[in-house]
Amino acid sequence: MTDATITATPPVKAATPVRSAFGDIWHQFRAHRGGVAGLVIFVFILLAVVIGPYIHRVAPNAINIRDKNQWPSLAHPFGTDNLGKDMLAQVLAGGRISLAVGVTAMLLALFLGTLVGVLSGYFRRLDGPLMRITDLFLALPLLPLLLVILMLFRDTLRATFGPETGIFILIVFVIGITSWMHTARIVRGDVLAVKSQEFILAAKSSGMREFRIIIKHILPNVLSSIMVSATLGIASAIITESALSFLGLGFPSDFPTWGRLLFDGANFLQLTPSRVLWPGLAISLTVLSVNYMGDAIRDALDPRALKH
């Protein structure tokens, strides 16, 4: 009865159609120029490495020693390496592996890190044990650890999943479990700060379950650090993968990856600069595009952020 009078509808146009929360974020995301550019580039790279090999039909392993160390030409748009393998084909093939490894390993590390970080930041009782485990992992010498993992699991995985998938799982696992600690500590710090804010108290007072509080209230507020970890994580996962192959832990040497192409090419910097240019560019572009997408997601989830 009273509503009609004092609270006539405010001077707002009953506006915009109702969107789902996800639709909302997507809408925000689309408005973000950098994010869209990042997405376009990322999709382009993705398409290139997935479809590219069907267009540029040169086998990445095809050796043609007569054509070695060539500068870019029509036959070899990216040039060739010192065994005469076509660089374009290698960059495309390498992209498949690098992207797959980079993204999955990053997601695994991010998942572990966020999980540990949130749990130890939020639950005081878990904080001590989890953070000490984090300390332990930070302190473990990486190389021996990798060698042990390799020794223990490689043959089993190879037997169960075949050489390639087995190695893929192994690499993702190895990178994942050795790179979650930074994220964990950063997230924990953020969680400690966020959880002391009053809206968490308010959520508790309405009887929210802890894990819902974590998901709906804590996580969105620590998202920006997680996003940064994610972008940096992709880059380091791609590089780490190449480092692993020097321990014999990576993919067999006839499987090119961006990191390895870059490493192998480094010595040929003066002879055939295109050998390092392309894989380097590919890594940087991927990381940049992921970075911009991360920015856009961050901004889309931050109602106060400057929309671009």
Binding site: D3, I6, A21, E198, F199, G207, K216, L301, R304
Partner: protein, 615 residues
């Protein structure tokens, strides 16, 4: 009418105004379109003059003041018009010069003190900054000055609280910190946005006196935004009435009060509750609702007695004690404790409203949080709806919380900034799986409308609301679960009279239909008088007087209660500029040394259920 000559002069225009606002319009970008929330506002503020802006919650008062200060987010807001400060146009001033103006020539008290204070700096430092930014002043001098200011705004133990952080302060104390910060630089113009909402009437009176004093001594002008018509009547020379982004009426306060022309003005004034208007009614009374267009009052439905005495109380609190340790020194040794709540006992029956009143910082919010175990009390027993609150494990605690809901004193801080208010309101409902998402949305929408917001605001985020709107969101959220008890901590303090009336009526309706019990924490004695069955008066962490509303209001026994009753401002402009001379008494502090043993208290029953602390 003592000093009215002053204001006559000002409004007469013979003196150049300190502040002159011309055709100010402000818009926000929401969902890619510009929405104007302040439209073509013009007004002047003369030297030494106090101009009040009153108006509906969400009508653009805060936005107006922020526009003058140019403090709105640059990328999502647009300000048009002109603002002159002593003849200088502010809106086109270069940023650096504008900075010189802020805090120096104009300072501002923000509406929400919790979020407006930097959480990681000691409050002393934050106030001192206001001094050191514009003046060449030594650290020690600044500190001394800050302590003096803190004492002026009646913060007890000012020296030792200099180094404390905002979260260790009560709502009202934070507000006073904001006030001290704004007054520190002795500005030419003070913009005060709801500066006293969280203050009890005694301290409010002292603060108002302080402002008046500064006006006289320093020639400060004041732009005062408030919902409290009593305060307006007391301080304002002239008054501007805002309604939905427009200034609908401007004039001498007296004129506005007695001869308001706009229907909203009239509606506003006739809804103002007056202390003592309840007579000898035992039960709460609905607020009259006036139609803005016709100015007619709708008939009041009577309330029935909802209190189910005889049954066991739904909330029973015994000897509740909550203390906050104070650490000091290099090694953080415990050097004392804030005895925020000390042996508090009371009960609350179904369908009953118990109001908790008392000085700012006396422990009301802490009591409210302790009974819901959001703070772990030091000792005491709380029984709520059959639950032994102090002994519950996590999952039963969660179930228990369905029965008791809280409206936090600081609505902005209690809303997740990254969650739309719709989700925030729906969340508890979904969490306790009381229905489908659609049901949740429908219920939330209807509650939003009931508290005077529109359902399509649900997609907005907390920062896009006005203070009062956020408060209503918080109320809607608390109502989502149909709890048995609601702890309403200053739940209506930021609402203008008309909406306050509407919301209070809503609460009463719910009490009628659902037999809700309220623990109603408020400083607004007029509202307390209208809505409560019983009243408890707190002082320094203890309940000093408790009893049926009529008994306590008509026959206050404890000296503090008496003082409180006498300090309530009266919405009568003719009483303007009368000094109370109360600020000389000593400020008592709840901080005790480590080995402090609280004295044994004795109580005397005045009449049935009316108990007073003695000695």
């Amino acid at each position: 009418m003592l000093l009215s000559g002053n204001s006559m002069e000002a409004s007469g225009g013979s003196v150049t105004p300190v502040l002159s606002v011309k055709n100010l319009s402000t818009s926000f970008r929401v969902n890619d379109e510009w929405r104007t929330v302040v439209r073509n506002i013009s007004f002047d503020v003369a030297p030494r003059e106090t101009v009040a802006i009153v108006g509906e919650s969400g009508s653009g008062k805060s936005v107006t003041s922020l526009s003058i200060m140019r403090l709105l987010p640059k990328n999502s807001s647009r300000i048009e018009g002109e603002v002159f400060l002593n003849g200088r146009e502010l809106l086109s001033l270069p940023e650096e010069q504008m900075r010189q103006v802020r805090g120096n020539e104009i300072s501002m008290i923000f509406q929400e003190p919790m979020t407006s204070l930097n959480p990681i700096f000691p409050i002393g430092k934050q106030i001192a900054e206001a001094l050191t930014v514009h003046k060449d002043i030594s650290k020690a001098d600044a500190k001394a000055e800050v302590v003096r200011l803190l004492e002026k705004v009646r913060i007890p133990n000012a020296k030792s609280r200099y180094d404390e952080y905002p979260h260790q302060f009560s709502g009202g104390m934070r507000q006073r910190v904001m006030i001290a910060m704004a007054l520190a630089s002795k500005p030419k113009l003070l913009i005060a946005d709801e500066p006293t909402t969280a203050l009890d009437v005694t301290i409010q009176g002292q603060i108002l006196d302080l402002i008046k004093l500064l006006q006289e001594e320093e020639g400060m002008s004041v732009l005062f935004i408030t919902h409290d018509m009593g305060v307006v009547a007391e301080v304002a020379d002239r008054t501007i009435v805002m309604y939905r982004g427009d200034a609908v009426e401007t004039g001498e306060t007296g004129d506005i009060f007695h001869r308001g022309k706009h229907p909203y003005t009239r509606a506003l004034l006739s809804a103002v509750p007056r202390l003592g208007s309840m007579g000898d009614r035992r039960l709460p009374l609905r607020f009259p609702i006036i139609d803005i267009k016709t100015g007619e009052q709708q008939p009041l439905a009577d309330v029935t007695d909802t209190v189910a005495k005889g049954k066991t109380p739904i909330l029973d609190v015994k000897d509740l004690t909550t203390r906050f340790d104070i650490h000091s020194g290099l090694f953080g040794r415990k050097s004392g404790a804030v005895h925020a709540v000390e042996k508090v006992s009371f009960n609350l029956f179904e369908g009953e409203t118990l109001s908790l009143v008392g000085e700012s910082g006396c422990g009301k919010s802490t009591t409210g949080r302790s009974v819901t175990r959001l703070i772990t009390p030091t000792s005491g027993d709380v029984t709520l709806d059959g639950y032994e609150v102090m002994k519950l494990d996590q999952s039963t605690l969660r179930q228990m919380r369905r029965s008791i809901q809280m409206v936090f004193q600081d609505p902005f801080a209690s809303l997740n900034p990254r969650m739309s208010v719709g989700s925030a309101v729906m969340e508890p409902f979904i969490e306790h799986s009381l229905g489908t998402k659609q049901q949740a949305r429908d219920k939330a929408a209807s509650l939003m409308e009931k508290v005077g917001l529109s359902a399509d605001m649900m997609r907005r985020f907390p920062h896009e609301f006005s203070g009062g709107q956020r408060q209503r969101v918080a109320i809607a959220r608390a109502l989502m679960l149909d709890p048995k008890v609601i702890v309403a901590d200053e739940a209506v303090s930021a609402l203008d009279v008309s909406i306050k009336a509407q919301v209070c009526n809503l609460l009463l309706d719910l009490q009628q239909s659902l037999n809700l019990a309220f623990l109603f924490i408020s400083h607004d004695m007029a509202v307390v008088e209208r809505v409560s069955h019983r009243v408890a008066v707190m002082y320094l962490g203890e309940i000093v007087e408790i009893g049926p509303r009529a008994a306590v209001f008509e026959n206050p026994q404890h000296p503090y209660t008496k003082k409180l009753m006498s300090a309530v401002p009266v919405p009568d402009p003719s009483r303007r500029r009368i000094k109370r001379n109360m600020s000389t008494d000593e400020i008592k502090s709840p901080i005790r040394p480590v080995n402090y043993v609280p004295p044994k208290r004795e109580y005397r029953e005045v009449s049935h259920g009316h108990v007073v602390q003695v000695g």
